[in-house]
Symmetry: C2
Subunit: 242 residues, 2 copies
């Protein structure tokens, strides 16, 4: 498995997220960091959820398999994120490293003890759970009602917004491969590819290698993402997409 690029990238954000945006980080602070190579699994669907993880560095995908090899990626998690917060009994997903990762782990028991002891941590934990549910609902909307182009635009935007800092002159890194994107967006790899090509033809993004995207027009991405409240413009587009 090869390293998919500059992890120094993620590091920048990791540092800030770990300290500020994520009070729960303190729970993981004393755990040793473990290294996980790209492609390796961190835990498996169906196993008892004995640990929670925090991603210190790198990108992780959470997925479920349903019969005959259909894979659904339910989330990508980035540096600073906590994996497994909402689990009770068994794991509902397999977590795998998309890039080389550094993670910390704590047992579920420790985590819950710490959280229920601390008045500062408890709201942070609740907050995390709420955010996760909200994100899941957004994804349901995407999967339920958006076409391929809207899905891709929404996805690119989400990535772009969460990494504004490292977005140097509109260059966005896509750490995951096309299959991962497809399984996350409920599409096939071919449709993802075609749709990116279509966006490129419209000069909205320019692919640079497999893992980078130059964002030419963020505003057009917003228009095409299907989230716009202003749909006077949108309606026109839909009429003339082909």
């Amino acid at each position: 498995m090869l390293m998919q690029g500059n992890t120094a990238f993620e590091n920048v954000e990791a540092t800030s997220k770990l300290s500020c945006d994520q009070p729960l980080a303190s729970v993981f602070q004393m755990s040793a960091t473990e290294t996980v190579e790209a492609g390796e699994a961190i835990c498996w669907e169906g196993d008892a959820a004995k640990h929670l993880f925090q991603i210190v560095e790198g990108v992780v995908r959470l997925h479920r398999i349903i019969g005959e090899g259909r894979r659904v990626i339910t989330a990508f998690q980035f540096a600073g994120d906590v994996v497994g917060a909402f689990l009770q009994g068994d794991l509902l997903f397999t977590a795998e490293a998309v890039t080389d990762c550094k993670i910390r782990r704590v047992s579920r028991k420790t985590f819950h003890d710490e959280v229920s002891r601390s008045d500062a941590l408890r709201p942070a934990y609740i907050n995390l759970l709420c955010k996760e549910t909200a994100a899941a609902h957004d994804q349901m909307v995407l999967l339920s009602k958006k076409n391929a182009e809207e899905r891709l635009c929404s996805f690119i935007l989400k990535l772009a917004l969460r990494s504004e800092s490292q977005l140097k002159k509109g260059l966005l890194r896509l750490p995951m491969n096309r299959q991962d994107i497809a399984d996350y967006l409920g599409l096939t790899i071919e449709t993802v590819s075609r749709t990116i090509s279509k966006l490129a033809a419209k000069n909205i993004v320019i692919p640079e290698g497999r893992h980078d995207l130059r964002i030419v027009s963020q505003s057009r991405l917003v228009q095409l993402s299907g989230n716009s409240d202003d749909f006077s413009e949108k309606t026109c587009h839909r009429g003339s997409v082909h």
Copy 2:
């Protein structure tokens, strides 16, 4: 707006759920019950989430609208369920009564005060949040990878399982109309209708009026729901679906 059938039905379960399965019910106990007629809204997407609700009786749908009148139903909620638990700031959905409902409401402040005061309530609240997230993930899988038939079978099964008690000789009540089902499953009303007809042709279910379904073969529903781990049989089906 018309009454869509016997609310006494839901009552049976309400009573048991309110007392046993749902410790959070105690928070709502002292609030007066309000009546909401079928079709009426309980709260609106975008408003500040000032209250949480508990459904005492009836069925509620939660939905979001995205541009040009596309509606996504993110969940149906039944007697005993708590609505709005995972909200932080603004409401992310509109809640509407599917049938005539009785609900209780408490302010978010009261709710959170009560919950953080009680060692019994806190785990129940966490548990609720986790369950909601897990449910959202299941729905993501459905929307992401299942075809129309699998979606319908999954839906019918879920309804059937959650109301086993009132499932008299395989008669299942569908309190919602076809449009609601369509918007929940990410399909159109026509596809829902056709798929039910197809299941009827296979003698798996028999529609009786618009709001009742006689379940002839629950096991075939399971097979066709796309959740089966045993997919030797499944694979054959997929090969010969048409």
